[in-house]
Each structure stands twice: as C-alpha cells, then as structure tokens.
Symmetry: C2
Subunit: 228 residues, 2 copies
C-alpha cells in the first residue's frame, strides 16, 4: 500500500522525535510544531516535516501536530506498539550489562533470555533474573518467539553466532563484536563497533592537534605527554 522507501537516517530521527514527544507529554503540551521538534535536536523544521510526511499527513496546516496522536503514529511506525522479544548471545560482562540495561524496559523491548557455551554460566541467571541457556538450545527455544538477537561474544565467534540466529529465524541482529557479519537477504545486522567509535574519536583528536597548531586553547593530553 504505502511504499516507504526511507533511509536509515530518517528512521533514527523518527526515534528521536518520539523521545522528544515523550518528554513533552509530562508537561501536558497539546500541540507541537515542526520547528519546536527541530530546535530540540538541532535539525531544520523542513527535515522534520519531510520525515513525517513520508509516512502520512499527521499535522494540521497552520496549527501543528497533536502530541498524543503523533506519538501514537510514531510508535506504530517504529513497531513499538508490539513488545519485541530479545535474546542476548554471550553472557560475559557486556551481555550481563545489556541484559539489565534499564533503557530497554520502556518502549516495548524485553530481554527474554541469554545464551552462552560456557557450562559454568549455563543454568544460572542474571542479577535481573533472566535465565542463561546453552547456545545449542537457541533454535528449539527461540524459533518463532524471538524478534531480535544481540551478539556480545568475541570477534572470532561472532559470525558463527549470527549464523545460529539466522537459522533460528531471527531476522534482526545487533552486533557488538568488532566485525561485519554477513547475513542473508531479508535479514538485518546492525553493528555497534566500540573499537571503531573510539578510533573515530582518536582521529578527531589528531585533527585537533594539527588544526590548533599555533594557539591551543586547551593543550591535548597526548600532545602534552609527548612534549613533557
């Protein structure tokens, strides 16, 4: 029916709009303008209107958007009106941290289980009471019941784990290992690459050093160490 050819960037912004509306709801604001939404996150009002308009006509010309209604529309568009069931593969530090991450409670996301191959971990549960199963049981336990898999295993194991998730019919994967796993057509694997993020910051710091050069308002720590 609708043909939503929408970029990943747009999708992220939709989440941010929703987040803004949720904060607003407390304050009992009835209507909101594209400008108000834009200002709250440093975008242009045209971008907000265009993002929203690609899914329908949610506003009233000359007036704005009704907060409650727009909130409901965004939740529907993002699929947050249904609770997503999440499994986490890898019950290490990161896996435990993610399992008990408070941010996941809201917004229709529920971590239902962790999986690992370490016999010492299997059979236990997280502090939050989420059970830890053996990876071998993923397919039988998860088939048809799980929407998202989170991969928090070492880089070497990541592709194998992703293959398991695919085999279990889990079409959306969030990967924390510093690799780009391959997934078949129709599946989605988004990588959150912490090493990459830090290297990107490192790059930013190098640029600063070069750019500042003559008149550093705040001397870089690394620069000071090598000079000192």
């Amino acid at each position: 029916m609708t043909k939503p050819r929408v970029s990943e960037l747009t999708a992220s912004r939709l989440s941010l709009y929703l987040r803004f509306l949720n904060q607003l709801e407390d304050g009992e604001t009835a209507m909101v303008s594209s400008r108000a939404m834009a200002d709250s996150m440093g975008a242009t009002s045209a971008q907000v209107r265009r993002d929203l308009a690609s899914f329908g006509e949610f506003g009233v010309r000359g007036v704005g958007y009704e907060v409650k209604q727009l909130r409901a529309e965004l939740e529907r568009i993002l699929g947050l009106d249904q609770t997503l069931h999440v499994v986490i593969i890898g019950a290490g530090n990161l896996g435990h941290a993610l399992a008990d991450y408070p941010g996941f409670g809201g917004g229709g996301l529920k971590v239902v289980a962790l999986f690992d191959v370490d016999p010492d971990k299997v059979g236990n549960e997280t502090r939050g009471g989420i059970p830890i199963y053996h990876l071998d049981d993923l397919e039988s336990l998860a088939a048809g019941k799980v929407d998202v898999g989170i991969v928090s295993v070492p880089a070497e194991a990541a592709q194998g784990v992703v293959d398991c998730l695919v085999a279990a019919g889990i079409r959306a994967v969030l990967n924390f290992a510093p690799v780009r796993p391959r997934v078949p057509q129709g599946f989605r694997c988004k990588s959150v690459d912490l090493t990459l993020e830090l290297e990107s910051l490192s790059f930013f710091l190098s640029l600063q050093e070069l750019t500042e050069g003559d008149d550093p308002p705040l001397a870089g720590a690394a620069a000071e160490r090598s000079a000192g």
Copy 2:
C-alpha cells in the same frame, strides 16, 4: 599544511581499512589493491582510493599499496601511534563491561580509571584491576592526562557528567546514555544510543511485515504471536 576536510563516514572507513590490513599482515601479503580492500568490506574501489587520496599519495600506479606502509600511514592518520588514555564515568554494569573490554587493549587505547559517585564503589577496582575514584576527584586526577571520557551513567546524569569531563579538559567523549549532551565548540561527543539502535531494528521488522504481506518466507515472531 594539509587541509583535511573529511567526513565522519570517511573516518570510519579508514578504521575498517586498517582493520583489514591488520588481518592481512599475518598472511605476509606485501601489496594490496584498492579493489581487494573494497571487496573485503563491500565498498567500491573508487571509494577506497578517494578516501586514501584525501590524505596523500600512498599507492603506486599500476602496482597498488604496500601493506606495511599503508598500515603505518593509517595508524598515524587515526592517531593510533599514540596511546590514548581513557576514563569511564559510571561504574555500573556497562562501565565494568567497557573497562574490561578486550577490544580496547589493542590499537593504542588504555582505560586508566573509572569514576562514580556511589561510596560503595569508590575505592574498589574492576576485576581487571582498574581503580574506581570519586567523580569529585576527576578534575584533579585527570587534568592534562586523559584524552577520552566514556559516559556510562543514567540518562538524567549524563549532561552533568559531560560538563565535568569538559571542565577537566577532556575533548573527546563517548556517551552511552540515551541523550544528546551539549558540548562546547572544539569538543566532541559521540553518542552510542542502544535504545535508538534497537528501535531502528524494530522499525526494520515492521517494514518487513508490511512489505512481505502476502508471501512471508519466514513469518515474523511478533506477527505470529499476534496472529496466534
């Protein structure tokens, strides 16, 4: 001297090129072509050449790039030839997980301390032996000695913590709280927003449901639940 007007996307790809070269080094490959690098990560060879060429002429026409040399150049460009000192604010689950994250050891990144405000945590150390100090001592302990701050505190506390980091002269911040903190000009705050990432996956799953409609090769879990 050089005027590196380079997008964030380019910077990320530079890290991926370096990662590929590091894997290669094991195999004793002497030369590498832009095509080989591109294929390894699903990019075009033109993009690889353009990315590299914006920093200098590292290749030899008709031949390719010398692996060892290109690796050194990329490390220099990314600033990974210097060890970056990292502090983590927030010694919760996520903070501990990041502190002991093995991926950070390589590539010139070193977590030197955690900070928290919880008296039960301050004075202890992580399993990996990294000390936990009180946030009040950040400025005196860190000034001039720290390059990157990682924020792993609840959303409400994030802006305050970022302000502390800025006050301590730490110009690069990696934020894990689901907010967009403000930083002054010349500072950089990159946010890794786990809630946003999951909502983006949720959006992908909704799209799938709509798109497939008639002939689902693998029925969605959420769809099955609401149908069943």
